[in-house]
Symmetry: D2
Subunit: 320 residues, 4 copies
């Protein structure tokens, strides 16, 4: 077997499952929507609302707290900015940014929530922390107030029970019961363009549409994945994941079985985590529709892995 040719097992893994598809092609605004589905997995989602005396300061703390948080494969959590809260709607009347942290394991998620608040938000100037999802029936208790060394005290901001912790910059206000919900992670779609910049522009507008929803994040840098992977490796047996070579444009002429459409020069993947199946589905709908408004998009597809990734399926034909 030629090293450029994947074995059958690999092929089943990369090629999109088609057995229960209708096989009906959809064309939306001139873009082929492949009849396939995205596969996603269960994840606990914690929502943290960060406010500050200026939007920029809340955003800086948020970016620090969600950094190094693209994929649970290599990071402590999947994390991203989910929402911008205007002063009028914020518990303390100041601008806010809501972030989500996502992990399948609840205990692991709690550790990440505590650590990222302690390192990246408590340390940031003028910030306060609130439960970002008050409707959540479950919360994780965090004990940041011990940092106050006994000088901290309990008080209220509106109807929120908070701790006020004396710090060098003033007082750090924190609502310590952070809401968590069972959400869905790994919702995804592929955008295939006739130039790298067309595909990227479509990906960026798709991310904006997805993030316009209040309870979704795109945890990868700028929301766009450039290096989609397959499970395992053809050549390096010690690698758990390697480049998804069937979807690599520069390999189209070099391998058999390439899934790169004619004329396509780049594929970007959008990955969506959210607080529910429905919000991820809506996000995929809105993102795909937005992407198709950019000139030069050839095809939309999605990634699935024979159920190895998770139980949730999002059929593109149902989403559109």
């Amino acid at each position: 077997m030629d090293s450029d040719t994947p074995n059958n097992g690999e092929l089943r893994c990369h090629a999109n499952e088609t057995s229960d598809n209708s096989g009906k092609e959809i064309i939306h605004k001139g873009v082929l929507i492949e009849d396939t589905f995205a596969e996603a997995f269960d994840g606990w989602v914690a929502s943290i609302l960060i406010t500050a005396s200026k939007r920029e300061l809340a955003e800086i703390a948020a970016l620090s707290a969600v950094g190094y948080g693209t994929s649970i494969i290599g990071c402590g959590a999947e994390a991203g900015i989910a929402d911008y809260v205007i002063p009028q709607n914020s518990p303390d009347g100041r601008p806010g940014v809501t972030i989500l942290l996502v992990h399948p394991d609840k205990k692991h998620l709690k550790e990440q929530v505590v650590e990222r608040i302690a390192e990246c938000i408590l340390t940031a100037p003028t910030t306060a922390v609130f439960n970002g999802i008050p409707r959540a029936q479950e919360t994780i208790p965090i004990k940041i107030h011990y940092f106050g060394d006994g000088f901290e005290y309990q008080t209220k901001v509106g109807d929120r029970n908070v701790w006020a912790i004396p710090v060098m910059g003033g007082e750090f206000i924190i609502e310590e019961e952070i809401g968590i919900v069972k959400g869905v992670a790994g919702g995804n779609f592929f955008i295939m363009g006739n130039s790298q910049m067309s595909a990227l522009a479509a990906a960026q507008i798709a991310v904006e549409a997805v993030l316009s929803l209040d309870e979704t994040i795109c945890s990868f840098p700028g929301g766009v994945v450039s290096s989609g992977s397959k499970v395992g490796s053809l050549k390096y047996k010690f690698m758990k994941a390697t480049t998804n070579h069937f979807f690599c444009p520069t390999l189209k002429g070099r391998i058999s079985g390439s899934l790169v459409p004619e004329g396509e020069r780049a594929i970007y993947e959008i990955v969506v985590d959210g607080t529910s199946y429905d919000v991820v589905k809506q996000a995929m709908h809105d993102g795909i529709h937005a992407a198709c408004n950019i000139d030069g998009i050839i095809k939309i597809s999605a990634g699935n892995y024979n159920g190895k990734l998770g139980p949730h399926k999002f059929y593109l034909r149902d989403i559109l």
Copy 2:
């Protein structure tokens, strides 16, 4: 002993060491420069230059890669953006952002370099990675190219030896020998203001001055620390670090021994890591000078810990 009163050991810890100080007060632009010093420690510093087809894309990848990287106490590394490289000066003619990752342990640093590149830069659209400090005599080899699953190949960008790895978005270019140097971490100074916003404005201009140097970072969110800490705790024996209560403005009237000057409402700390003692010293000089240009700054001080933090001392009187 009242619980609000620290024991002597604590007091020695927080109060700035004065035995070998000259005791000569310096007034700079109306601001009192305390005759004390900052204490800092040794750290290995890796420098990664990220380029992309647009500055914004390089910056997005950089922010993801340096996120959750404020302090080695709770993060895998201290990390930050050190420099912006114009297309004219970049190895591939595209805009670049240089980040530094810092950790005292070389092996641990290597792991962080590999993981943060793999999760946050390889995944980001159009990025390439180069050694950010070509003069470094020591490098850490990273083997990201295995991700290419055998389809990767070696090539050159100018005089740099790089790998080209096929990815869905095109090709990921990486110079795998990342330079490291012995640097200094934890250089710091305190900015004390007559209002929270004055202190913050001075801190922000100080950070800009520090970051104008090419080989320094301020790893905290926005470069500013709001919640400086002391070692241990008066009340909670299980806490390794708690709020530096002697410097908390809201506690001035409640504790004995407060080090908060009259009329001061907020203290922000600037922490600087850099590739050498000299560049950190220059950064402290430039940052303090910049801060003193903001109206409402009362005093500049610095943090030291009886040598428990590290061997390096930066006397403010020498710096100014």
Copy 3:
């Protein structure tokens, strides 16, 4: 009469009118709300929705189009960004930015709309222009399509009738009937702080609250006015407007009749234009409430000019 002492006429002009005030002081979150009113004038308001293939591109065009548009005293129009439209809500599914242009004279406003679109939006990459206020019963027709030199053609984007004009970058899409409504300009309030940076931070959060409404703008740079003026001059008879010396903190000890409260170091003015009296009133309400959340604010006031500026009054006691 000492030149530092204004004559009575001037005094009547600067001092806030008090005859029909209730004299009842309001304290909101510890901030004194002066019992006075803002005076505002009638203005025609044109609303232009700019879309682009990326939010950043729409915003760049918008910033160019609203630039040099702070006050009708010295600029062709008062102009600013009013709203950000998400792809899901935009006529062409792309990100949008809505700007308002304001002038009392309808013909003059039309000229400004045409010129600013032609110079700043038509020239910007990937932009399209739509009527930003479809409910408006009156529109101003603009004939940008002549730029197409006969190669332009009429088409539809959704239910909007547009022109498609061939340009070097592709096609420029424009809906040429731009809606205008009778609005209100010059709504305002003063924020007085105990430090320059406190007043500024409160002003910035107030601007964010005002701009969170969809049909208001703050035409000054960053939405904040640092140099409020009075009509005429004490010393230079050729000057139509000079510094509002009664409100200058640095003159408090030098002049008689200073209106600067004790302990106050800076006053920033927020000026609001909007599509109706009610939206400007709401904006003032939201802005003042937001400002009072910042530590160090002493007093809120407003500017009025004996009816010389215009017929509309916004009493702070009614607004709060």
Copy 4:
């Protein structure tokens, strides 16, 4: 003659002059550099350095002051941000932004300098104004200090003679002698791409390279022109300028004489103004080199108009 066919006079106008060209094609990084030249004109250039207590505030004032300043055909001046000054290099130790205003007529330029400072910088919080080009042998005096109504006074910032004008926000500092030099306006090049997004990405990186130089601006929105024009009109005799139809990609199949290369989908023009012929030449060099680093660029050209625009020529073959 068919209305889609330009008359000879027009053709001579649009087609690039070739008589004194060598006819030698240059290929740079796979991109065809057309053997033509850019035509530019003389302009007076005023340089204003704006500082503020925070970079963002200086930039906000700068953006307001340079807005509605793309082309002298329809705007009061051509204007743009030329340089960012770090605190260490700024006259008052605060972050600075240098803007250029350009106009062929010195008196008209002076009016623009005065008006834009008065409306957009004096009004902006914490700003100060300095001569941005101290080496200039000629200055235009501006009398903003009359705004102080006699309360203003003269003082020094370092070695700069300035006025301090009391304003509501504190004091406005201004050096009233603004340097002007004879510069060059209208330097330009065309970037032709195989997709709109490729051409745009190349244009954006070119703008970044151009603006990395200290004394150049790109006055159009984001530095990129999407709607290049020709003088006059084929069809609408009342139009002074209309779309440059020979370079419109969507018209390639519809007109005779199209200058759009095969496979090209979008052309963006970069226009450069600067303080001298040499700096504009350097900017064109750096911009073209940067643009050629983006995948999908087919050709670089430039605009010239039989000397009707101005006396300066920049031959691409000399620049490269």
